[in-house]
């Protein structure tokens, strides 16, 4: 199962994360291994505090594991410094967060423009507009996040995540702050866009129904990952 695959966009080998808290040491992840292939949609389920978000952060190169290694888009993350990791993510990795994380001082269009400008894309403006149109928010391109509903904000975040055409998209409880209908609409959008872009999707959620729509479902339990049939 852990054999290297030419198509793997994200790979974890023997990943461990241990933190020291006020009540002593705590193992969040224990020698966990995982491989996600290009275009694959993987849902990671688990109870609150089970370590799902920690795993997501490690897979995206946002944090350092205590043990083991992480590969992202064919590069071993531990070989890179902070700036190298940022460069690795730039244009290749998209994010959708539970609390949207749009920059409040930028309009919807400018939020989508940001990762495109970071990659130095030439046709950034056109691609940003296209992405917004794709999520149905072309008319609200000049609105600030505060002027948008929660669902709309998350659609802007999805447009931002997909605009640079990433290889992998990490979504951390993307529907956690939304009602069920809106949440389903967001998942539709995420999966559709994933298909269009041919990107892998790593979806962290505690909603089993949403998870079922992914190609593969994994459950976090006591720091270990188990596959659901």
């Amino acid at each position: 199962m852990l054999e290297s695959s030419a198509q793997a966009v994200s790979r974890a080998i023997g990943l461990g994360k241990h933190v020291n808290g006020p009540a002593g040491g705590l193992t969040i992840l224990a020698s966990l291994s995982l491989e996600i292939e290009a275009g694959e949609a993987v849902a990671i389920l688990g109870a609150s505090g089970s370590g799902k978000s920690t795993l997501l952060g490690l897979l995206a190169g946002l944090d350092d594991p205590t043990s083991g290694e992480v590969w992202l888009c064919g590069t071993r993350v531990s070989d890179l410094d902070e700036d190298g990791r940022a460069e690795l993510r730039s244009g290749r990795v998209g994010f959708v967060f539970q609390n949207f994380q749009l920059l409040p001082t930028l309009t919807a269009r400018e939020n989508v423009l940001l990762p495109l400008e970071l990659t130095g894309a030439r046709d950034a403006a056109r691609r940003a507009d296209e992405a917004l149109e794709r999520v149905g928010l072309a008319a609200r391109a000049d609105h600030y996040p505060k002027q948008l509903s929660g669902g709309e904000q998350q659609r802007v975040a999805i447009a931002r995540a997909y605009a640079p055409r990433p290889s992998v998209l990490f979504a951390d409880e993307p529907t956690g702050n939304l009602d069920q209908a809106t949440g389903e609409h967001i998942i539709d959008l995420l999966l559709d866009l994933r298909e269009e872009a041919g990107a892998a999707l790593v979806l962290v959620t505690h909603d089993a129904q949403l998870a079922e729509r992914c190609d593969r479902r994994l459950v976090m339990n006591n720091g270990h990952l188990e596959s659901l049939a």
Binding site: D63, D83, A86, Q101, L103, R160
Partner: protein
């Protein structure tokens, strides 16, 4: 390119969203204050120098007891400077009633080059400004001479071998102060008549002067050219060497102005620091997201620094414009003072303003921004992660270094800079330590408190950095406002009081010992309070310890002059009330052993220390005594003062004349004529003109300082606003949660009021203590003024702060309370 594009976009957005308003206001204000004061002091100093010039009737004066070489005059002319030459000597003039000893000054028609010559056409006629010196064949004389000779305008005056017609009565000579101790009535005549008098020959005792005036750079160019060419018998004076009363007033005015600028700089610096901190706090999430999206740290740093530089330049430019407008307003307000041709403000203050603005901004804002670049990208999914706390020492060090550089640069006065920095750092450290202590206490109390109190106290304890920042910011704001009050009310008042109405405006000199009692009796009989008469003995300083005093030993021209001329020595049992002993002790009684007390300034100039044995040549023999005290003298008090005073034992048997100063109301002037007739050897000197000029400097200086303090006032209010804003963000969520849980608005409002009033009370108490201490240090050590603690300041400082901050803080937070809790919580999400 990428960095530029992102920078400009973020900058535009920052501005639109209001993120930068507070920081801009602080920066614009700092630069405006520095620039306005820079532009203005340029012009004020020019004007003050001009007024100093009026006291020597020129910008530069070359003086010698021999005729000056014409090379000097030619060179000055070649440099486009105006010149006037004059010869001053003592002689006897003859009128119908008999001869009279006079002091004659033979001048060119261009005299005076600076200042005003005034004359009247008759003993009872009003005086008017003279456009030039006396015409050939004419003499102008003081009314005293006319009274002594019993003649009026139009009479003939025998001067040496020639006759001159008295053309007018001389009422004011700008440079009369130079000849302070000349005892004879003064006569002004044309220099072309001098040869005909045959009074001046190669061996005659006379003083030759070349007056030079013109544009500042030409004057300094000439000064640099002429200085190395001066022989031992030629001295060079400029406006700064004008009378010490005048120099002292100018120095104080300039110190006050610099102090005002520095206080503004410090307070606005605090506002910049608070605003930067807030800006950084609000950027943490954005940075985390940008790092997730692949922005490298160095790119973010580039973006931040570029953003800061572009913003800083724009704000500084605006500040410069505002500063320029501000100084125009100030110049307009003091237009009567600036009546004459003022140089237009140079661009230099604008550059100084821009540099100051950028240094302050970078010093205060860059360390927090570096900290921002360290925000972990993981923060985007884990909100509990904050920005790693940059080492507090680095942040504080950068801010302190920027501050120190600016203070020293702006103060242009190491003493002022040190004292101010020490006061500010002392205040800061005490404020921070006290607040930290109280935060600990709050943490301890939180467990025992209930409801909103527990929340408030716990929040305070959990966020010590915010609490420290807030209370320190408030403290600095209050300190600035209180210092304003101390300087405005107390220091400026005591400055004005150094020259109260009724300050002595007449000096009587050359009073013989046998005339002392009759003179006192005469003044008493004329309803003038009898002044103290001081004995005055002439003496030349021969030796300091075993070392002979030679003028050529000193490089400092002032020291050289002092070493070459006779001192006016005096003796007294008690020190004069306005003198202050700064080292050693004054003698205890009349029978004390022979000893000397020396004025501090002259002691420094000549290198005289406590315990040195000074030897003077007095009336044909040597007298020696050790220096047992150094004194500080209020030269601008217009009281009689001496550089060197001795215990009675040393000098009381030497031949002395007496000197005194007293106030004569303007309508009693004829008394002087009566006095000089009654006591012919006594010379009276009218110092009203100098007095009026010094008073004018003080009054206008006070006005200028008050104007500059307007900037400080705004900066103080700004820093308080920033202090209140500092905690606003964090309260938003707390209040949303508390209100959702059922806390009543009134209860929250009450706890807010108590919290802000408490912070105000604490900050106010600390600020008041420091304002009083700083005021004391400034008054006693820097401005040499009396300081009396002001009890009203305590009431205003402590209670006023509690009230003001309580009210302002509650009002600023009130909008959070009237928002529906859901909106508050959603905004945060």
């Amino acid at each position: 390119m990428k960095a530029w594009r992102i920078t400009l976009r973020l900058l535009r957005q920052d501005w639109r969203s209001g993120e930068l308003y507070l920081l801009s206001a602080a920066l614009v204000l700092t630069v405006a204050a520095i620039t306005a004061v820079g532009f203005f002091t340029d012009r004020v100093e020019a004007t003050m120098e001009r007024q100093g010039s009026a006291l020597i009737a020129a910008d530069l004066v070359l003086e010698s007891s021999h005729p000056l070489t014409q090379d000097f005059a030619q060179e000055a002319r070649a440099r486009g400077l105006d010149i006037a030459q004059l010869v001053e000597f003592r002689s006897v003039v003859v009128a119908a009633r008999g001869p009279q000893l006079v002091q004659i000054k033979a001048v060119d028609p261009s005299y005076p080059l600076r200042g005003e010559l005034r004359l009247s056409d008759g003993l009872e006629a009003p005086d008017r400004a003279a456009l030039s010196g006396p015409a050939a064949g004419e003499a102008w004389a003081e009314s005293r001479l006319l009274r002594l000779l019993a003649v009026d305008v139009g009479a003939e005056l025998g001067v040496g071998d020639t006759q001159l017609r008295i053309g007018a009565i001389l009422t004011k000579e700008p440079d009369q102060g130079r000849s302070f101790f000349n005892i004879a009535p003064r006569v002004l005549m044309n220099r072309t008549d001098l040869a005909a008098t045959k009074l001046i020959g190669p061996a005659s005792r006379a003083t030759y002067r070349l007056l030079v005036a013109g544009p500042a750079d030409a004057v300094s160019g000439f000064k640099a050219w002429v200085e190395p060419k001066l022989g031992v018998d030629v001295t060079l004076d400029d406006a700064a060497d004008a009378r010490p009363e005048f120099a002292s007033a100018i120095e104080r005015a300039s110190r006050f102005l610099h102090l005002a600028t520095l206080v503004t700089l410090l307070v606005a610096g605090a506002a910049i620091a608070l605003a930067s901190h807030r800006l950084v706090e609000r950027q943490i999430d954005a940075v985390a997201v940008m790092r997730c999206l692949g922005a490298a740290r160095h790119l973010l740093m580039q973006v931040f620094v570029l953003r800061l530089v572009v913003f800083g330049l724009l704000a500084s430019l605006l500040g410069c414009l505002l500063g320029w407008a501000g100084q125009q307003g100030l110049a307009l307000a003091l237009s009567d003072w600036f009546a004459k041709d003022l140089p237009p403000p140079s661009l230099a203050p604008a550059l100084v303003g821009m540099t100051t603005g950028m240094t302050a901004l970078l010093g205060f804002a860059v360390p927090p921004l570096f900290q921002l670049a360290q925000v972990p990208p993981l923060r985007a999914i884990r909100r509990d992660l904050g920005a790693p706390r940059a080492s507090a020492a680095v942040s504080l060090g950068a801010a302190a270094a920027a501050l120190a550089v600016l203070v020293f640069w702006q103060a242009n006065d190491a003493e002022l800079a040190w004292k101010l920095l020490a006061a500010v750092l002392g205040t800061l450290v005490t404020l921070i330590l006290t607040v930290l202590g109280l935060v600990r206490l709050a943490g301890g109390l939180a467990g025992r408190a209930r409801g909103v109190w527990r929340l408030g106290l716990a929040a305070l304890a959990r966020r010590p950095s915010t609490a420290v920042l807030q209370i320190t910011g408030l403290g600095i704001g209050i300190l600035a406002l209180l210092l304003l009050a101390v300087v405005r009310v107390d220091l400026l008042k005591s400055w004005q009081e150094t020259l109260p109405e009724g300050a002595p405006n007449y000096f009587l000199i050359n009073i013989q010992p046998q005339e002392v009692e009759p003179l006192k009796g005469f003044l008493r009989a004329s309803d003038i309070p009898a002044p103290v008469l001081y004995p005055m003995i002439r003496g030349r300083l021969l030796r300091i310890n075993a070392h002979s005093v030679e003028p050529s030993d000193y490089e400092d021209p002032r020291a050289e002059r002092l070493a070459s001329r006779e001192f006016n020595l005096s003796y007294a049992e008690d020190a004069q009330p306005d003198n202050r002993i700064v080292a050693g002790r004054w003698w205890t009684d009349a029978a004390a052993a022979p000893q000397l007390s020396v004025e501090q300034g002259i002691a420094e100039t000549l290198g005289i220390g406590l315990g040195d044995e000074l030897t003077f040549w007095v009336s044909g023999h040597e007298v020696s005594a050790p220096v047992t005290s150094l004194r500080e003298v209020q030269w601008d008090s217009f009281n009689v003062n001496f550089f060197v005073a001795s215990s009675p034992a040393l000098l009381k048997d030497e031949a002395a004349t007496y000197i005194t100063s007293f106030y004569l109301p303007p309508d009693r002037e004829p008394l002087i004529a009566e006095l000089t007739q009654r006591f012919p050897s006594v010379t009276s000197l009218d110092v009203d003109a100098i007095l009026a000029q010094v008073r004018a400097i003080i009054d206008r200086g006070v006005l200028a300082v008050e104007y500059v303090f307007l900037f400080t006032l705004v900066a103080g209010l700004l820093v308080m606003y920033a202090g209140i804003q500092a905690s606003l963000e964090q309260r938003r969520v707390e209040h949303g949660v508390l209100r959702t849980l059922g806390a009543r608005r009134r209860a929250l409002l009450g706890s807010l009021a108590v919290e802000f009033a408490g912070a105000g009370l604490l900050a106010g108490l600390l600020a008041t203590i420091f304002a009083q201490a700083t005021g004391y240090i400034l008054a006693e050590q820097l401005f040499e003024l009396e300081f009396s603690p002001n009890p009203a300041l305590w009431a205003v400082g402590v209670l006023g702060s509690a009230l003001l901050i309580g009210l302002a803080g509650t009002l600023a937070t009130y909008p959070l309370l009237i928002q529906p809790p859901l909106k508050t919580l959603r905004d945060e999400g």
